[in-house]
């Protein structure tokens, strides 16, 4: 039974990698279940709307340079909210950088500190998707590139923009899940294309 990861990583039914994935059946099933619950078919649209969820997923995948996954989410968002999609596409070039960077509490790890600027959503994001979405994209940018700079202030900014505690939990899971998902696609794509020759 193929799933989104298989589709995006080019894993054909019956191929060597399909068999290897099938030996971790619970992981395979529940990665898809996480995707369904967070993004594709969520139960509670009050804490985070369908468009907010897909917009954040697209944003995280695109910021991470995960081309195939980003294209998948871009297609979903195009069908749901083309204005938000246009605003995100306009914001992406200036927002895209590399990571992980950030700062540790002062001490022996300070030599590894690498500062990076905060990203503020341009007015077009809030105009198209509202202040909650603008705050969510700012938070997703922070957690994508500078996860060790996360702070209570960053969560306060989400509350101030209208997110609830439950909504922040779902948003945090969604951002973090897409980082897992895009790495499964990246890793399996390489492995599927370089199968063992034996």
């Amino acid at each position: 039974m193929s799933d989104l990861i298989d589709d995006l990583a080019g894993i054909a039914p019956g191929s060597p990698l399909d068999v290897l994935r099938s030996r971790r059946p619970t992981a395979r099933r529940d990665v898809q279940a996480s995707y369904d619950a967070l993004i594709a078919d969520p139960r509670d649209l009050g804490r985070a709307s369908a468009a907010e969820r897909i917009a954040v997923a697209y944003w995280v995948a695109a910021l991470s340079g995960a081309a195939r996954l980003a294209e998948h989410y871009r297609g979903l968002l195009a069908g749901l909210d083309p204005d938000v999609l246009a605003a995100i596409d306009a914001a992406l070039p200036a927002a895209t950088t590399t990571g992980p960077v950030g700062s540790y509490p002062p001490g022996p790890l300070s030599v590894e500190d690498e500062a990076a600027p905060e990203w503020s959503a341009p007015a077009g994001i809030a105009a198209a998707g509202g202040p909650r979405l603008a705050a969510a994209l700012e938070h997703a940018h922070l957690v994508t590139y500078r996860p060790r700079d996360a702070s209570p202030d960053a969560l306060q900014a989400l509350l101030d923009a209208g997110w609830t505690t439950d909504g922040i939990v779902t948003l945090s899971q969604l951002i973090a899940f897409v980082h897992f998902q895009l790495r499964l696609v990246a890793g399996f794509t390489v492995l599927a294309a370089h199968a063992e020759e034996d």
Partner: protein, 200 residues
């Protein structure tokens, strides 16, 4: 009740990677134990209901349940593939790369317990992912770190190095899933709470 962020003024956060037992506490209110529904308790199966981390995450029980089941399968399914110590090594390497002191402490400890290689794990914590290791651990750590970078630069050379070090493709799937999963775990741990100094 109006939702609010929980802050802990005045406590000094740990500032170095360690395999000692760190604490962690959330910036979001955990769901009170008395408020847990049957669905919440089902989602918490396999977890400690007194743990504040999981009682924050249980605010989205469907996601927590799916995540826990995936986590356990990725790290403990022993039908072939990578041994437990090296799955934990991949988790620790991802955590070292992302800068999650709490996650790194837990999974460094597990890697030490499972492998008996305290000095090698401590060197990963102290010196980072470029610290000297043997060929096999170097391949696992480098693959985990490459996958963890944004953008990911995991490529065919990493697969070749893992195979040359003796991993079969089931084990490479385990490296990808273990390191990948910690890009989920690290971001949660780092973004909804903070580590506490070692409990002594």
């Amino acid at each position: 009740m109006t939702d609010q962020i929980v802050r802990y003024p005045g406590v000094v956060r740990p500032n170095a990677f360690t395999a000692e037992r760190l604490g962690w506490r959330p910036w979001l209110e955990p769901k009170p134990v008395d408020d847990l529904t049957a669905e919440d308790r089902h989602a918490l199966e396999g977890r400690d209901v007194t743990d504040p981390y999981f009682r924050v995450l249980v605010r989205d029980p469907i996601v927590l349940g799916a995540r826990t089941r995936a986590d356990i399968d990725i790290f403990t399914n022993d039908e072939g593939g990578l041994d437990r110590a090296e799955r934990e090594l991949a988790a620790a390497a991802a955590s070292r790369t992302n800068g999650c002191l709490f996650c790194a402490s837990v999974h460094a400890r597990f890697a030490i317990e499972q492998s008996g290689r305290r000095d090698d794990v401590q060197r990963l914590l102290d010196e980072g992912i470029d610290a000297e290791q043997d060929e096999r651990w170097t391949a696992i750590i480098e693959a985990s770190a490459a996958l963890t970078a944004t953008p990911s630069f995991f490529g065919p050379a990493h697969v070749e190095a893992l195979r040359a070090a003796g991993l079969d493709d089931q084990a490479i799937v385990d490296v990808i899933q273990s390191a990948g999963f910690f890009n989920w775990a690290n971001r949660l741990m780092l973004s909804i709470g903070e580590p506490l100094p070692p409990r002594r």
